[in-house]
Symmetry: C2
Subunit: 204 residues, 2 copies
């Protein structure tokens, strides 16, 4: 009946679930086992504190069925289900611009599988573009430890080709030629707005 | 430990929880017992379908603690808690403008109690204003069946006066003189963007 995301069971991130004792091993010194979500959240907190931009991750949508109200303590949700998100995960405002994006990881060393992206997300990004918002995808090749900012038109083109029977992934070479690679830093960790700023300057 | 919202137990809306048999009585023909949230959601769906704007309600934030994965069926959340939202409930993009607002109901016939608004929401709206986003509050006086679009500066002024020891509510007379009353329609139900459009036109 329900799959989230992509039929995979829900994998809680550091920020959405209490920490457990079994932790993913550090994959490198530079990312210290953090998920891309954690890195983006850190970046957004930096932007917020520095009053650079107001960008938040949307909560995971759940269908709440049963709630208990124990006396003198917090309400407890006892039955709920994951719902399919109808938008991307992150949005907000920066200097009058509407910013809207998705963050995706892949362990592949050679290409980004388009099954990581949902049709409703592509449609949402198309609608945002029509309303003159700025929308893109941040893709992390976790094994390579490389990060790319993918403008919507690049994703859209690959998606349309897939729908016409073309390949189901975007090769790394396309990332290298048509997207913008971003070097992770200390703080902000993934300074995507600097890239967006340049993209806007180039358009005008 | 946790209160949401305003120490009240969670009241599920039509859209977030499966419908139960006990339904709130219709309070009038025109609103048919719908909550303001339902009315705003309908309006946003209209805007979306007509390609006027892309505005969504954010999911209720929950802290997920325990998830079960029954074989061959959907994952079930068995323990979760409500978290305090750090932003307003609705945001999106309209014609290049970032739109961000909160919707609040009151049963009072004479004033809107400021305890309906949270400090973090006021702070968020202040930050959005600094980033040149458009932010406001839609207030419904349910007993009077009247709707108002409250520009952020009106809310902010009342909030600051309260913090300096002033009154803890905004009188209806202030709504009538300093905010914009909106007549509910059939479709779109609460056409707030038309009001915003006029506000922008008046500013320029």
């Amino acid at each position: 009946m329900f799959h989230y995301p992509n039929g995979k069971p829900y994998k809680p991130s550091e920020s959405s679930v209490q920490k457990s004792t079994s932790k993913k091993k550090d994959s490198s010194f530079s990312n210290r086992g953090k998920t891309l979500e954690d890195e983006i959240n850190e970046t957004n907190t930096y932007y917020l504190n520095q009053q650079i931009a107001i960008i938040h991750k949307k909560p995971v949508p759940v269908q709440i069925v049963k709630v208990e109200y124990p006396s003198r303590s917090a309400a407890v949700i006892r039955e709920a289900y994951f719902r399919t998100p109808s938008t991307t995960d992150y949005n907000g405002v920066w200097n009058g611009y509407y910013i809207d994006f998705e963050a995706k990881e892949t362990e592949s060393k050679t290409s980004f599988p388009l099954k990581n992206v949902h049709l409703h997300q592509v449609n949402h990004m198309k609608e945002v573009t029509n309303q003159k918002g700025i929308t893109f995808t941040i893709v992390k090749f976790t094994t390579l430890d490389r990060y790319f900012i993918v403008p919507f038109n690049v994703l859209h083109e690959a998606w349309q080709m897939m729908e016409c029977g073309g390949r189901k992934s975007i090769p790394l070479s396309v990332f290298e030629s048509k997207t913008i690679e971003i070097q992770p830093g200390y703080n902000p960790r993934i300074d995507y707005l600097t890239v967006i700023k340049k993209m806007i300057a180039n358009e005008n």
